[in-house]
């Protein structure tokens, strides 16, 4: 089967690339073994969380781009980053939309009892921004071992309650199970009644981010009606239900637009000829299928996604064997302290590209003419310390697709 564009990697950057290409009337195939880091981390959209809280993110980003020309944002530029973010937002119309407060980063409460800065916040978390100014009750669930209401209450100096749920099949309850139950009116009736009983003088109630997968705003509205309190979600340990919502929304809309999804498989081999990629092979046990395209985008993530691999001597890119920017020896990959003022040097490693996101070698020569690279596998960023994961994924996925299509 022949396509205009084949994207390898189904994380946020691959999905953004698919969106951008399909909206430009391209025939798109996206191949991926999973949802990338969306299902783990992406509760909100980080762009550059390290900026001072009072600074407009646009201003901070503009300066950042000037100071860091090699950074993915430096290559994307301010204008395209903003275009990419609004393209992302177009998939999330209200009621479940992503917004900033005053175009700056805002602090939201987390499941560890800390506050974290982030930029675009889903509607279910918006009321968490100001929770400290209000009397708040934190709700946990017995058997859901990744969220501890009493600990949060101690840290946030408010009150917490752990609810016992109506009989489940087993002692342990997962985030995905609660999220599914939340979509049943009888379950919400139970939760609503129990929470209402617990409320004393609190005006807001914080839940772990498990208020439904498909219609979180509907769940929230119903619970607000039943409890009379304002309700917000708090990001927790993986899996990330809000991240799964993003994936599901992309998948549904892209399928409708005609993108072909190959979910659950990874590319087993690429066939190269001179400086071009000709076909990719995907192993569907027991057979192998070949797919070809005019252009390819590689967005397979970092070590967790499998886009980068490391043995005890070096870091490599397993699919195209692209050169990986890295420190000379393993000893320099990490700082001596885990919590360190300077990021671990390994995060700077990754795929080197030109300004159009085509992979290059150390001399700056383009290695493959019809391959573009997007996402966190790119070199020269510190996505964890900068708090820039989703911003990099969205902006490079968008831009790599634009460049691949020649615009």
């Amino acid at each position: 089967m022949h396509y205009d564009l084949i994207i390898t990697g189904m994380g946020l950057s691959g999905l953004m690339a698919a969106k951008t290409a399909v909206e430009a009337k391209q025939k798109v195939l996206i191949v991926g073994k999973g949802m990338g880091s969306l299902c783990l981390f992406s509760n909100t959209i980080d762009v550059l969380g390290l900026l001072p809280e009072t600074m407009k993110v646009r201003d901070g980003l503009s300066q950042w781009i000037k100071d860091h020309p090699e950074h993915p944002y430096g290559k994307v530029g301010l204008e395209k980053t903003e275009e990419a973010l609004s393209s992302f937002n177009s998939f999330f119309p209200p009621p479940y939309a992503f917004q900033s407060k005053n175009e700056t980063n805002s602090l939201i409460p987390t499941g560890a009892g800390t506050l974290r800065p982030t930029y675009l916040i889903p509607s279910t978390m918006m009321k968490g921004i100001i929770f400290k100014e209000k009397k708040t009750l934190i709700i946990g669930f017995k058997g859901y071992k990744d969220f501890y209401a009493y600990r949060l209450a101690d840290l946030f100096k408010c009150r917490g309650v752990t609810l016992s749920l109506p009989e489940g099949p087993q002692a342990e309850i997962s985030a995905t199970a609660i999220a599914r139950w939340m979509e049943q009116p009888t379950f919400r009736e139970f939760i609503g009644t129990e929470v209402k009983k617990q409320i004393k003088d609190e005006v807001s109630v914080g839940f772990p981010a498990v208020l439904g997968v498909n219609d979180p705003m509907g769940v929230r509205k119903d619970l607000e009606k039943r409890t009379g309190a304002s309700i917000f979600e708090i990001p927790v340990l993986p899996p990330s239900i809000p991240g799964i919502r993003i994936f599901n929304q992309f998948k549904a809309r892209l399928l409708r637009k005609g993108v072909t999804f190959l979910l659950g498989y990874s590319v087993s081999k690429v066939v190269l000829r001179k400086k071009r990629c000709e076909t990719i092979e995907v192993f569907h046990p027991p057979i192998t299928n070949s797919y070809s395209a005019d252009r390819y985008i590689l967005a397979t993530g970092r070590f967790m996604g499998g886009g980068l691999k490391a043995d005890w001597e070096r870091i490599y890119e397993p699919l195209f064997d692209l050169p990986v920017h890295q420190s000379p020896t393993r000893q320099e990959w990490f700082q001596k302290a885990f919590f360190n003022a300077q990021p671990h040097p390994i995060h700077q490693s990754g795929i080197l590209t030109d300004l159009s996101f085509r992979p290059i070698d150390e001399k700056g020569e383009v290695i493959l003419e019809n391959v573009w690279v997007a996402g966190t596998m790119l070199a020269h960023h510190n996505f964890i310390d900068e708090k820039s994961r989703e911003g990099i994924e969205i902006s490079t996925g968008y831009t790599a697709a634009k460049k691949a299509l020649g615009s």
Partner: protein, 508 residues
Amino acid sequence: MKLQTEVLIIGGGATGVGIARDLSLRGIPSVLIEKGDFASGASGRNHGLLHSGARYAISDPEASRECIAENKILRKIAPQCIEETGGLFISLPEDGLDFQKQFLKSCETIRIQANPLSRDEALELEPELNPDLLGAVQVPDGAIDPFKVVLGNVRDAEGHGAKFLTHTEVNSLLIDKNKIKEVRAKDLIHDEEYFINPSYIVNATGAWANQFLKLAGLHISMALSKGSMLITNQRINQRVTNRCRPPSDGDIIVPNHTVSILGTTSIRSEGVENFEVTFLEVSLLINETSKMIPVLRESRFIRAYAGIRPLFQPEEKGDDRAISRGFMLIDHEKRDGIQNLITITGGKLVTYRLMAEKTSDLVCQKMGTSLPCTTHLKPLPTTLRPSGLKDRLKKFSQSFSGKGEEILCDCELVGREEVEESLKQEKTKVLQDILHRTRLAKGTCQGGFCVYRLLGVLHDLKIAEGDSNKILKDFLEERWRGIRPILWGASLKEEELIESIYKGIFNL
């Protein structure tokens, strides 16, 4: 607080708690002070080997004799702490078979049961062995759980009247003429001060012996040798696998519970608290041990750690492996004129009981009594420390039939009830105490998830209050020391996940 006791023991390693048990069974009261948790020195930082003594049969026959005798006693009195794996000494082509001949002869002299095996017989027993091996010798090595041994001793001693103060450090000594009259110590967690007036003092601080003796203006000649080890994610071998050649770096792989432990290096150390495992040591250990079991080159490791061996030495430099692994018992009355002070140090984990017996004999002798030792006859009581994988799996399956509990640690299947039970029964003062007494944080993710959950449970139970994120950060920093040297392959993926959670989602 003022405390009176007959014997004050300093140091809560295997030797110290062994002495407390021995004395308590003879009816002699004692108090033991430990500045950290039990077994936080060499007793908890070794490869968990129940020595047969074969390793020293040629180089150190005396230590070897002690090892095999104690090996047999421990199998009888503490079977719950031991896995009878057996051991192999394998000869590779580069080693030749000359050493094996000498080895077999020495084992025979010392009466360590040693059966030669052909290449094929050895491979049948251990399929992952290097197929080029020339042959092997089977010896009665085994695996031992040091912490279980230590806690068993503590429990028994407590039952017989001994007292234990952990996280309590000796600050100063009051010496009057030729006796230590008073020992001043401080509880490092609760700020309590102790003024202890013992009749006798036993310095069982192992590598820290000179730090204590300094308070009395004394010094003994001792070498500190750092040994580093690596833990695999899976159990690679079923029998302790040794290299049949003179003792050297990376010559042993000990199977232990669900993992295998690669050991060791021997590096002269200046500091007592230098536990850093270098990248060079990691490469050396993998390069050497993979000659015995090649699959180790591709294995996933979950942690690197080091311990400091206290070795007795005549004051000359040289290879630390040439120094005896035997122990040294010093009566400071004879040596320095301090009537009521004894130092015990050196030795092996497997000879801890013998060291305790000899020390207690000396205490009795100084007291003018001759109460007999019974620790070689009386079984060690079992402790709460969780049983083998089989029992944990059984419990785990119950949690899915609806009656069970939440599993806090998915790697090692540690349930919430088990942790709560342990919190009720054991005296724990800090997070690491709890981790020592359960299998939390021992598995593949090294506490990446379960310690966060444990803190949640501690708040639920009102054991922890206020800002416990400092404890979480300290734990992650401690965890980092163990994993930083082995981050590649799957461990590196895990690190990206954990860093993304704690610095990312949680912004710690």
